[in-house]
Symmetry: C2
DNA sequence: CACTTGAACCTGTCTATACAACTTCGAGGT
DNA sequence: ACCTCGAAGTTGTATAGACAGGTTCAAGTG
């Protein structure tokens, strides 16, 4: 994990400066953020750099900016934003709730032909497969059915997934380069319904996530694919964002 | 609709320049895009401006950039991206299919208390309410249940919604400032299931969309709220995006 | 032939400066 | 008391210049 004063792009330092104060609770929704010129003096970077950081945070829904007035912490970043929050434990904790995980199994198995294509490995290879239930305040909130490319995380099976989530572990082992999401509504299978303790006739929100790691040269390898099942009545996916018009 | 050489931010001209060539088919997935310096000469703007335009298109999934190599049209912008494509007709046409709309009703009705809050009007006011089925190649793909704030679009009820979609009309009448989405999985009511010609036991993907118009001073008014129902088996919502790391 | 080196080009980032448009607020005039 | 005007602060955008790090490819070297 990068330290706060670590190298890297300066505009990310601007973003961290603001995000840290939001996450710590020092700045609350509606509060005014330091102006661009104040941040220039505070952080010792140019105004264009500050502007880029704040503009990205605005696009991501954290801030609201009014020309001629100032920059403010956005009122409500709606709950459940897993298209950006990759780690469900973080998301649950940010709601002030407790997270617990139960491992159903984690094993190595030969990959099926279609999954081989999805994972970008040659058919016949063995891949890692884990099934985990995530609880929010002791109520099941997500069933995580995940396949991992062994090339990206060779020690995957020896991780204690009740202490660290697969997302957390994979983020430590390999930085990820790209994420792709598909959202669908499905009826749960009996197994899914049992693990999520769902009543009959309740649908699931299914989030299919593929993550890519930077690989050797020009060809990026898929690191992992996950099917994340959410009970429909306990979850909704929010995505507020400012519009970028200009499309024809 | 703004003309191609119209005023407005120059970085949007860069984006339009590229998007127009993508939409017209002149540039296909995998093709190389003009380099930043070439676009500087072509469009007569500075490199920073070109960079911002291309960077935003990359964030939105249209382009892929490789440092030291070049900029390329992204391979597959996955189907169904209604968090950015606001108009379903555009989306269907971009898949090369035909769009048709059938108006169930469009009327004025007193607003319910909770909907008044959601729309940001005083309870007791009348609002516009329309119900429309959208077809892709003559198969129902979306049921659009929409409430419109009369202040934002006074002539809403006199529009021919089988020729122009509500999204299109509202975009013409009032520029929108913010969009908020919530995605849920639900079981359809009998009415929804009938309009979408869905079998029993099939869930719906429900997209709740609220759009805001820029209003007088400091208080932005909600222009419209829409509940968009998609049959689960005929639709999935895709969201590829490049990761912005740096969050704690 | 195999290898190294360097030029040319690409994207990514940062800076200093500038101007425009907007809001707020107070000073001054009617 | 009311209105107008302008200063000061804010965000939004655009520019020219600079450097770093990556890739490609050809020329030159062994």
């Amino acid at each position: 994990m990068p330290k706060s004063g670590s190298p890297g792009p300066l505009y990310k330092k601007v973003k961290s400066f603001v995000l840290d104060r939001i996450h710590s609770g020092e700045w609350r929704p509606g509060d005014r953020v330091l102006s661009e010129n104040e941040l220039v003096r505070e952080l010792g970077v140019s105004r264009m750099t500050v502007n880029r950081g704040l503009r990205e945070l605005t696009d991501e829904g954290y801030l609201e900016r009014i020309a001629g007035v100032g920059t403010f912490i956005a009122q409500s970043r709606s709950q459940g934003h897993p298209l950006e929050v990759l780690n469900i434990a973080d998301e649950i904790h940010s709601r002030g709730n407790t997270h617990r995980a139960r491992l159903i199994y984690a094993l190595e198995e030969p990959v099926s032909p279609d999954r081989a294509v999805a994972l970008g490995v040659v058919p016949g290879t063995s891949v890692f497969h884990s099934l985990i239930v995530h609880y929010e305040n002791d109520r099941p909130i997500q069933l995580e059915d995940r396949y991992v490319n062994p090339a990206a995380a060779p020690d995957y099976l020896s991780v204690d997934f009740e202490r660290i989530t697969p997302s957390e572990y994979l983020l430590e082992v390999a930085p990820l380069k790209k994420v792709e999401h598909m959202v669908r509504a499905v009826m749960p299978t009996d197994e899914v319904r049992r693990h999520l303790e769902m009543p009959r006739d309740e649908p699931c929100l299914l989030l299919v996530r593929r993550t890519w790691s930077p690989a050797s040269t020009t060809k990026a390898a898929v690191a992992s694919t996950a099917r994340l099942y959410y009970p429909a009545t306990r979850f909704q996916l929010g995505a507020p964002f400012s519009v970028r018009t200009g499309d024809s």
